[in-house]
């Protein structure tokens, strides 16, 4: 056989975006696409430029180089474009790379491109892959839409229908089925897919998947074993390292967790969430040097990301304070104030952080004045503070004699995290050290009880059929305690029960979705969030 002389595809009605920093390569891609009749090609030479184009136009296909020189990487552009829904469900995203990289074997469905092309790009390669992916995306578009609507059960049904007839995309559909099952809180179904794949061959993605299902079910030791297997062979299975770190941290092996994260970072240092995890683990171990470096990187990476938050700045400042370097801490906070000018919460937190900084550098009067000014807001909006920042503020606040604000901070912290394994004991220890042992004990008890009581009462009311009352109770509670995952899921549960009795209502669906997403953002690996999403999807009109 000669190589297939493919009839040239007709791309005359398709629009393309080529994201490539190297001019020569842009020319090659233009020539090849031109041979298929394409006239609608836009070019971007940087990630920022590409996103601006994606905002204005809807493309049928995007060809994006993974390495874009300075600024955002191709991977970051893809993630931001997906996150901001700048890519249509049918659109194909092909990532072009000079070599096989760890990005190509890593990541969940939402962060993976449709395919990778390794240079050199030939006409046959480009046309074959484009046609195959266009065909696939057309088939998968309804599934993608269902996923965008958080309708995972529907998406799984559609995947099931496609799997019933053997086709060229079986492996990908299987993988999709497993991811969806995990999102819908059905780890058993996901596990069946992973185990079937492992029955054929040992495959890193399937073993990682298996470990994730075990993790979701709280079987951390077994998860750890599988993750060690996957990561032993190569440093490049990046998300397996992230999960290994998570498992080790849960099992109390902070040193191992730090090592796992550092191994992954040695291959791929440009991931903010991984740097931030390293910062946390290292800080908990007292390895302030490493923690500071990680948070610094995290800040740098945030400059290119739509997800930048104040958290790494605050953490870094905290570490400088712990090392008695107030000047450095002040610099970091100054940078936070200027980097996040538009963000009121960030501005507020930056000012709050100035209190301990001033106090530490001998400005007790200035610190006191600032505290007086900020205290009322601080008490009302205590939930905005990252937990570790609250702990860092406790000493200075007590030194300045503001017990009321201290108590408010920790009441809020504990009410929002009543299930956390060690916050309560840390708060008790803090108060005991300040000679307020009794107050500390009482505060812990009351704050924890507040959350539990609301839930008990909500359940009782709903059992008695007083769903309206139960709902208003949970809504009110959400104002006071907005970040407690268990309360949020209870809230969603009530909304769903309400609709199951009285019919679907768009506002309530959105309220429930909002609760579930917030809970999931705080407690990513809790299968209850997925279970509720699945139930919400089944509520009939």
């Amino acid at each position: 056989m000669k190589i297939h002389d493919l009839p040239r595809p007709d791309f005359s009605k398709k629009s393309f975006l080529v994201i490539e920093d190297y001019e020569g390569m842009r020319g090659i891609l233009r020539d090849i696409l031109g041979r298929a009749g394409t006239t609608r090609i836009d070019f971007a030479s940087s990630g920022g430029g590409a996103l601006a184009m994606l905002e204005k136009n809807r493309y049928d296909a995007v060809l994006c180089d993974l390495h874009l020189g300075h600024g955002k990487s191709g991977q970051q552009v893809l993630e931001e474009a997906r996150q901001r829904r700048l890519v249509a469900p049918h659109a194909v995203w092909l990532m072009v790379s000079a070599e096989k990289t760890s990005e190509m074997v890593t990541g969940m469905a939402e962060t993976r491109p449709d395919d990778y092309l390794v240079k050199p790009i030939t006409e046959t390669l480009l046309f074959t892959r484009l046609l195959r992916q266009m065909d696939k995306k057309k088939m998968l578009a309804p599934i993608e839409q269902a996923m965008r609507d958080h309708e995972y059960l529907k998406a799984m049904r559609l995947v099931g229908q496609l799997l019933a007839a053997p086709g060229p995309h079986t492996r990908e559909l299987k993988r999709m089925e497993a991811e969806l099952a995990l999102l819908a809180g059905d780890p058993a179904r996901a596990r069946a897919v992973f185990e079937e794949a492992l029955g054929q061959r040992d495959q890193p993605w399937a073993r990682l998947g298996l470990a994730r299902t075990l993790f979701q079910e709280g079987r951390f030791e077994e998860a750890r074993q599988h993750l060690l297997d996957v990561t032993a062979g190569s440093r490049s299975y990046l998300d397996a390292h992230d999960w290994l770190a998570r498992a080790l941290e849960t099992l109390g092996d902070l040193e191992g967790a730090q090592e796992a994260l550092q191994r992954a970072l040695s291959v791929s240092p440009h991931v903010a969430s991984r740097q931030s995890s390293l910062g946390e683990v290292a800080a908990r171990r007292g390895d302030l040097e490493t923690a500071a470096r990680a948070y610094r990187r995290c800040i740098e990476l945030g400059l290119n990301s739509p997800h930048a938050t104040a958290a790494p700045y605050l953490s870094l400042a905290r570490i400088f304070l712990a090392r008695d370097e107030s000047g450095e801490a002040a610099k970091v906070i100054g940078r936070l104030a200027s980097d996040m000018k538009e963000d009121d919460n960030a501005q507020f937190l930056a000012r709050v952080m100035e209190i301990p900084i001033r106090l530490n550098s001998g400005g007790e009067k200035a610190a006191r004045k600032l505290l007086e000014e900020l205290a009322p807001t601080l008490r009302d909006d205590a939930h905005l503070l990252p937990p570790e920042m609250a702990f860092a503020l406790a000493g200075p606040l007590m030194r300045l004699g503001d017990m009321e604000t201290t108590d408010a901070l920790f009441s809020s912290l504990l009410a929002n995290h009543h299930e956390h394994p060690d916050y309560a004991s840390r708060v008790r220890a803090l108060y005991a050290e300040a000679g307020r042992e009794e107050e500390g004990g009482k505060l812990v008890q009351e704050a924890t009880r507040a959350a539990l009581e609301i839930m008990d009462k909500g359940v009782r009311l709903s059992r008695e059929g007083k769903l309206d009352e139960a709902l208003s109770l949970l809504r009110e509670a959400r104002h006071k305690i907005p970040g407690n995952p268990r309360l949020l899921l209870n809230h969603a549960y009530l909304l769903i029960s309400y609709m199951e009795q009285r019919g679907r209502d768009l506002h309530l669906v959105n309220e429930a979705l909002d609760c579930i997403q917030s809970a999931r953002a705080r407690h990513t690996h809790d299968k209850r969030a997925g279970e509720l999403l699945a139930r919400l999807e089944q509520v009939r009109a």
Binding site: M1, G24, H70, E99, S102, V105, K119, R235, T290
Partner: protein, 236 residues
Amino acid sequence: MSAPPSLDAESGMSMANFLVSSVHDMKNSLAVMANFLESALALAPDPSAPLYRQTSQALYENQRINDHLIQLLALYKIDQDFYPFDPQEQNLADLANDALSRVANLARSSGVTLEYECADDLYGWVDYELVLGVLVQALHNALRYTRDSVLCLIAANPRGGIRIRVEDNGPGFPDFLLREGSSRDCGVSFDTGGTGLGLYFAAVVAGLHRNGEHRGGTRLENGGRLGGGCFQLELP
């Protein structure tokens, strides 16, 4: 060029970063050069003119550098424990088409018939990029030494797994290569001017592919269907 990365916990990687990004740059340049050469060949009126042959030779040299860069980088990453080895069940006719399309222009310009045999529904467990690299290198090699015909055969191996062969009708491999071609620790300096990199790479790639107790292997022979050199890669 950006400032050198600071020395810190990731300093071990900064050399790797330079290496990787330089290879990316070089590959881009080679791709543009290859594109020029291919356009020149397409426009040239007379395939028998010396200029045509020289352009074709330049294209071959260009692709050889490209192969070597890919191999060096992959070997470095394998050695440093961060090559993303990821065997998946892949359609092998696609692999054959992909590989052959990368050398098709070269074959055409050197007047070599290039064919393959592979069932459309044949699948095999391969790390696509690595095996593609081995196959393209073997094809380049065959194109260099063949008289006028190169054949790529991909089939299920009766002993399990798959067998990929690249055969030609040239003079065949010299004896010392036949002796060393199937060992993993190939020497690095051959009289032929080659560095042994290609064979070493192929052997490493074969060895990475495992199924239970079985590992892949490579082999050089003379004969085959076309009577010249045969390169064989078996994967479990």
